[in-house]
Symmetry: C2
Subunit: 395 residues, 2 copies
């Protein structure tokens, strides 16, 4: 047999491996170093009480023949679809039909798998810097990829021009890695651009819970016209600390069509053929997150992480270090001081402050000279890290 | 944008929808009918105690900041990889390295997703009748599919001849839907055929736990040469009643190469790009299944289902109805009596016996005139169903 030769065009993904190796080497040479990790995008707070309670109750149900659950519904159990619809309506102000929601194991899986329903002949527009999955999944399928430059000039929120025409457009807002958020007016320009060019927008809203300004859109469906051109990807990972639980959902409006086919129907056909639904216990935990009690618990966690980004912003403000994100995102995207390159600043932080972060260069060419720090850590440890940075960088 | 036009070549999947509609209609017209469902391949016994205990313990860990688990390992946690290796070694007599095992949400997902790493230009050989996922996923990718006929003449265990040459070969043993199992000698012929033609065998072993004869292979890796041509797909769904829990695993030997690439590396690249690992609580439950205690509990459940197939075989023997499977499989694949067509026998069973089964015609052309009954039901209800069949069909 022959392999999918597009895989040969993938660049080895060295970013986190390289980070781990440099950190490991430093630790070996400095066994007493008290290293603070602010690199990875993983959460650290435990699951909220409501979710755990439901997870345990569901596990117990599975041990009793009268309450056992076999194959899940392919697109999500009704109780979870109802909970997600309620979340959209109550917290975001967007009405979606439960038939437009498809529950899965996570937004990473969905942003990758959705490509199955599109022709490999489509062109793709991806911002640079970017979450690497968008690029790699399209390389695997052999699609032509164009980049749109996110940079200091456009505040890392690029807007489309004639040359950016493409069939498939990725938008991630709040953005990973830059932490920046599009306004409704900016998204409207993207939506109009997509409608004018018969493009589909793949809208990654995995960080929507971090938006604290009611004027900023948490869903692309808050923008007029989006139901005719956009697919939205959401996740419980950052919303409710489900990185190790695995649950997400995708919303495809009924109106969204191409070549006379409803994309919702195509995605459902894809999912019922290649997927068998999400674990019952996981779905129960996920539904608990969007009850009023669960929601107030996850908001507490989000506020905890927000304290970290607020402290970070305060420190970088006082140091005169330029940064993006942070306000509506767990990530701070900072300009490396003294025009250092990303990996040089990585080494500097590791050696001088014993802090591990993520070099921006790992997210694309435009990330060079930038650095991502995460607010997902412990408040006291993050404060300690900021103190170290302050001590080293204060003029 | 343009859609993936291969989707237009998919036939609507009417089988289970059609079954549900006919059953619903009958129930409306006969509200007092006591219907026994022997159609679907879902399990009915609850999870074993060991699995539930671990699932609850893991859920509790997730509620404590000191024992919380974030992103899982992409290919499975060490404790689960070790448990699967132990299962292979102790119960099947096959040695696999933990680095060759990749844990996922299920065998359906894996048999579908594995196709990503192969060229769309490969030809595919699929037995008829067959589990519909093999066919549909290849149609979605636009691959050329050939069928090999499984029929009464070859005991529903077709063997390859020159004309069956193909790049990708599907084998499911014990088979869904026919319940038949290849012997080691037969599998050896398939392996040699694959090696001679540079084919890869996609070996679906989802029903391996139902094999009770130690001489029959539970893994293709019990056959010499298989490590150079086969990928094996396994599942906790039927093994341990995990249809609603969702966990499976795929084994790709290190030796397996094509175009100079290790397929194991390609699959790992695919998974780390498009998948984020299996829920921690699910992995804990899965690992418990392969402890000595858990294994004895799941064997009890398998024996329970086996009682059903034994009772079914006894009844069909006494009625002189020809059938396949049952011995090493939860499925009985029977020749419809009086040369009835599959759907006619469906209607007969529904109306005369109030039993719902699965028409063989739904699994491919060669399934016409055959019928699948499942042993996953309750023992008393299955006995009751067999009594009704006996009453109606006794000469």
């Amino acid at each position: 047999m022959k392999i999918n030769k597009n895989y040969l065009n993938l660049k080895p993904s060295y970013l986190f491996k390289n980070i781990a190796e440099r950190t490991e080497k430093y630790k070996k040479e400095n066994p007493d170093a008290d290293i603070i990790r602010m690199g990875i995008g993983d959460v650290t707070l435990p699951l909220c009480k409501s979710a755990v309670k439901e997870m345990i109750a569901a596990s117990e149900e599975m041990s009793d023949i009268n309450s056992f659950h076999g194959y899940p519904e392919s697109f999500g159990e009704d109780f979870l679809l109802d909970a997600i619809k309620y979340h959209y309506s109550k917290h975001i102000g967007v009405e979606v039909d439960t038939s437009e929601i498809i529950v899965t194991c996570g937004a990473k899986e969905d942003t990758a798998n959705i490509l199955d329903i599109f022709d490999t002949d489509n062109t793709v527009l991806i911002p640079d810097p970017v979450y690497p999955v968008y690029l790699d999944t399209n390389i695997m399928a052999g699609r032509e990829v164009k980049f749109i430059s996110a940079n200091a000039e456009n505040g890392f929120l690029p807007m489309p021009t004639e040359k950016d025409k493409a069939d498939i457009i990725y938008i991630c807002s709040p953005n990973n890695p830059t932490g920046e958020v599009y306004s409704k007016e900016q998204l409207k320009i993207w939506v109009d651009f997509a409608l004018a060019n018969n493009s589909v927008i793949l809208y990654d809203a995995a960080y929507e819970m971090f938006i604290s300004d009611i004027e900023l859109p948490r869903s692309i469906f808050q923008v007029e016209g989006a139901r005719k051109c956009a697919i939205e990807f959401c996740s419980f990972s950052k919303t409710a600390g489900f990185t190790g639980v695995r649950c997400g959902y995708t919303v495809i409006p009924k109106e969204l069509e191409a070549d006379g086919m409803k994309l919702l129907d195509m995605w459902k056909r894809r999912q019922s053929t290649k997927f068998n639904g999400v674990s019952y216990v996981v779905q129960r935990a996920a539904a608990a997150v969007f009850t009023d009690e669960g929601y107030s618990e996850i908001c507490e966690n989000i506020n905890y992480y927000r304290t970290n980004t607020e402290n970070m912003m305060q420190t970088f403000d006082s140091l005169g270090i330029k940064y993006y994100g942070g306000k509506h995102s767990p990530y701070i995207w900072l300009k490396c001081p003294s025009d250092m390159k990303s990996w040089d600043f990585f080494d500097f932080l590791l050696k001088e402050c014993n802090i591990v972060g993520t070099p921006g260069a790992g997210f694309g060419e435009n990330g060079e000279g930038y650095f991502r720090l995460s607010g997902f850590g412990n408040i006291e440890r993050t404060k300690e890290a900021l103190k170290r940075i302050e001590d080293k960088l204060k003029k």
